[in-house]
């Protein structure tokens, strides 16, 4: 057992809640991408391999918008700049709109002409589109050095902190006081830096603020070390909370759209039986377009939040791993099943974090498939899906 799980002896079980929280946050993004896979599959029985690349384009759109808003590396030379929630909303909307358009364009050029052909043919065009965007994107998108969205774009640098296990009383209040002082000094330094652009500040003022931060940190870090040993706190950065809430909101919106609107009813009908729905007067073309529109917009939203709040570097292969994980999540939940995709995404995110937590970080990309194979052997149709005989 020791050989199989090398890190288990050293695992700190008190860090489990934090890992689960991180897993849920990651899983929310997987779920957003998985929704796109599962919706397209539900309607067309097509594995849209280009979905991960739509996600990648979404991250680039968010990056470009943030550059236009003044957070480009060149503009940041002049000093940091305060951000607000409007910037985030602009980036989110731009990503969603561009991704929706790209998704519909891909459908029009690569999938629609293949509608009456064997499904494997459209699978190959999907692979082709995916390769085209990965390698073709590198021709005109910035790739080296790999860009990342500046963390200054996030206007909420703080974090929610929840005690799981509290430290002793005098220590706790001392610690909280020191922490508050440290964070306040950091905030003060940041605000001083914002004045760099207008020239209202000078290096001596900045240095003084920096010294204050250093002093506060010197008081804070020994206390922090003591507290670390005796207590547990779950830390939830504000940005990630926004990410989670937005994802949940979008999922609820989708749920409402699918269950309560006319187009949603049409989508369910087409997903149930493509040909009969067409015979019953459902405009199948519109349904397919709307499906790609929504699925891609969700991927765009996921990409913007993933790239912004996790501060990841972006390349044209940005979508490959999340795309694959999300696809696995969709199959895990039962492909074609909307709640299944969300469930699968969350499971996938949590499982991945837990595998890293027990010290098997190297295997975190494999665990997705292991879970998938185990689940499919028990339930061949996925967790929430149904299984029926079909021909390839």
């Amino acid at each position: 057992m020791q050989a199989v799980l090398p890190g288990l002896a050293a695992v700190d079980f008190w860090s489990l809640p934090q890992q689960v929280v991180n897993g849920v946050l990651l899983g929310a993004i997987y779920a957003l991408i998985a929704l796109g896979y599962t919706m397209v599959y539900g309607i067309l029985r097509l594995i849209n391999f280009a979905h991960g690349e739509v996600f990648m384009l979404g991250a680039y759109v968010a990056l470009f918008v943030s550059w236009k808003l003044g957070y480009s590396p060149e503009a940041m030379m002049a000093g940091p700049m305060p951000s607000n929630i409007l910037n985030l909303v602009l980036m989110l909307v731009a990503s969603m709109v561009v991704c929706a358009v790209v998704g519909v364009v891909i459908e029009f050029f690569a999938y629609r002409p293949m509608r009456n052909q064997p499904r494997i043919a459209s699978l190959i065009t999907a692979i082709g589109v995916s390769l085209l965007l990965q390698y073709g994107g590198a021709l005109f998108l910035p790739v080296s050095p790999p860009p990342a969205i500046r963390e200054e774009v996030n206007p909420f640098p703080g974090a929610f902190k929840v005690w799981i296990r509290q430290p002793q009383e005098p220590l706790k209040s001392q610690f909280l006081l020191a922490e508050r002082e440290f964070e306040a000094s950091q905030q003060a330094l940041r605000e001083e830096q914002y004045k760099l652009r207008t020239g209202e500040t000078d290096p001596t003022k900045l240095l003084a603020k920096q010294a204050e931060v250093d002093a506060a940190l010197a008081r804070f870090s020994p206390l922090d070390q003591q507290v670390q040993k005796a207590s547990t706190r779950v830390i939830l950065p504000h940005g990630l909370v926004i990410m989670l809430c937005t994802s949940l909101l979008l999922m609820l919106l989708l749920r409402w759209l699918v269950m309560k609107t006319k187009i949603g009813r049409a989508m369910r009908a087409v997903s149930h039986d493509f040909d009969s729905a067409a015979l019953m007067g459902v405009n199948v073309k519109t349904v397919v377009v709307v499906t790609f529109l929504i699925g891609s917009a969700l991927a765009g939203a996921g990409a913007m939040m993933y790239a912004t709040f996790q501060n990841l570097t972006i390349s044209t292969f940005f979508g490959v791993q999340p795309g694959l994980k999300a696809f696995v999540a969709a199959v895990l939940g039962g492909i074609g099943n909307v709640p299944g995709a969300v469930l699968g995404g969350l499971l996938m995110g949590v499982a991945e974090q837990l595998v890293s937590w027990v010290g098997l970080t190297a295997y975190r990309d494999a665990v997705a498939f292991v879970i998938l194979i185990v689940v499919l052997l028990v339930r061949p149709g996925g967790l929430l899906g149904s299984s029926k005989v079909e021909k390839v």
């Binding site: 043919a121 065009t125 589109v129 085209l132 390698y135 498939f369 052997l377 079909e390 390839v392």
Partner: protein, 405 residues
């Protein structure tokens, strides 16, 4: 008697051809060109063996690189550890490595084939894909297997792999072709056409599916077994998911179920990117670069061509010869438009200034070719047809006038 004489003669001719053609290629080609001959032989084996699983038996497998990897690592480890002590001689060692790779990959194929009894269609596809990824990630994290750095499998004295590689390819083609032509192959086709109906007619579906997986992965493993000693250094990255996709693409592009198609598509799809890599600028002798204007013009022209040819296909009915002239017209028209566009676009300063070299562009062209070919010929180059001498004869015969199409 005559049957066996024909068999023996064709085996002798095939083996002779393998040695003769590769020997000739070694004399004529550069080292690099010769490497391509060997690798294309491996891809032919991979594509045809995947075709057995995907095209002939109808099981949707997209993790073929996993079996290839199992075979390659088996032979790499054996070669690294035992090659110095062995007394088989390099030629027999090569054959032994192909066999070893085949055996381990067949075991892996059996294990992966088992879920195929329960899973269907896309679910099976994702499980096979997952199998390939799991194998790769495990190997990547085993220090004994070289980890992500890779493993050396050098054979000194080395051996000329090409005839063996091509003999494997011929063997694979022969097995699949004979299976298709014989009564033993009918259950495979029946399972592809309708699993439930074939089970009702008494076909042992389980046996057929597992056999297809075992035989298909066996050949992939044998190809891996020859690949590792030939290339002498393998890394897990060689066997990424993309590799599986490329093999799958060869099968579909050639025509699912057509062995001839797999062979042609394997050589073409492997050859095109390598050919593009070699292109040189005639004026400078440097690697060829294209301006943004040319790239954009070519893309637009290709789009126009696809649209035109699809329009012709939809509107001109009857035999394919009636579509030939309009299609040639579309091709010429698209060419002229592309040329004019490249002239016009070169006035756009941004497009004219940017230059891309072929190494960047070759995967783009590859992806473009994939999409265009699928749009124009979704059933694959050969569809379900096979090469035969009678078919070649028919090509040169005039069609009788007024015959039903």
């Amino acid at each position: 008697m005559k049957f066996w004489l024909v068999r023996l003669a064709s085996i002798a001719v095939a083996v002779g051809l393998c040695f003769f053609v590769t020997g000739w290629a070694k004399g004529v080609l550069t080292d690099y060109g010769y490497t391509l001959v060997v690798l294309s032989g491996l891809y032919v084996t991979l594509a045809v063996s995947l075709n057995l699983i995907n095209g002939i038996t109808g099981q949707f497998s997209i993790g073929h690189a996993g079996f290839y990897m199992v075979g390659a690592y088996t032979s790499a480890i054996l070669t690294q550890r035992l090659y110095a002590q062995q007394s088989l001689g390099p030629e027999m060692w090569t054959v032994a490595m192909a066999l070893a790779g085949a055996v381990t990959a067949a075991i892996a194929g059996f294990v992966v084939g088992l879920p195929s009894l329960r899973l269907r269609g896309d679910y099976l596809a994702i499980v096979t894909l997952g199998f390939g990824e799991i194998i790769r990630i495990i190997v990547q994290n085993q220090e004994a297997l070289g980890g992500s750095y890779g493993i050396e499998a050098k054979m000194t004295p080395s051996v000329d792999s090409a005839p063996w590689v091509w003999m494997l390819a011929v063997l694979c083609i022969a097995v699949c072709r004979n299976l298709l032509k014989s009564a033993h192959g009918l259950p495979f086709l029946a399972v592809r056409e309708d699993e439930v109906a074939s089970a009702a007619m008494g076909v042992d579906v389980t046996k057929v599916k597992v056999t297809a997986f075992v035989v298909g992965s066996m050949f992939a493993g044998a190809a891996g077994g020859l690949f590792a000693p030939f290339i002498s250094f393998i890394t897990p990255d060689t066997f990424r998911m993309d590799q599986s996709f490329i093999i799958l693409t060869m099968v579909v592009l050639g025509g699912t179920g057509s062995i001839t198609g797999s062979v042609v598509a394997a050589v073409a799809l492997f050859g095109i990117p390598e050919y593009l890599r070699l292109l040189k600028d005639p004026s400078t002798g440097q690697a060829l670069t294209l301006s943004g204007a040319t790239v954009a013009a070519v893309f637009l022209a290709v789009g126009l061509m696809v649209w035109g040819m699809r329009t012709v296909g939809a509107n001109v009915h009857g035999s394919s010869s009636r579509r030939l002239l309009p299609n040639l017209g579309v091709l010429g028209g698209a060419g002229i438009v592309g040329w004019l566009l490249s002239l016009a676009l070169s006035n756009v300063p941004q497009l004219a200034a940017s230059r891309y070299d072929m190494n960047l562009l070759r995967m783009v062209i590859f992806a473009m070719a994939l999409i265009v070919l699928m749009l124009l010929r979704p059933q694959g180059i050969f569809a379900h047809h096979e090469f035969s001498w009678a078919g070649v004869g028919r090509l040169f015969k005039r069609q009788p006038q007024g015959a039903p199409a």
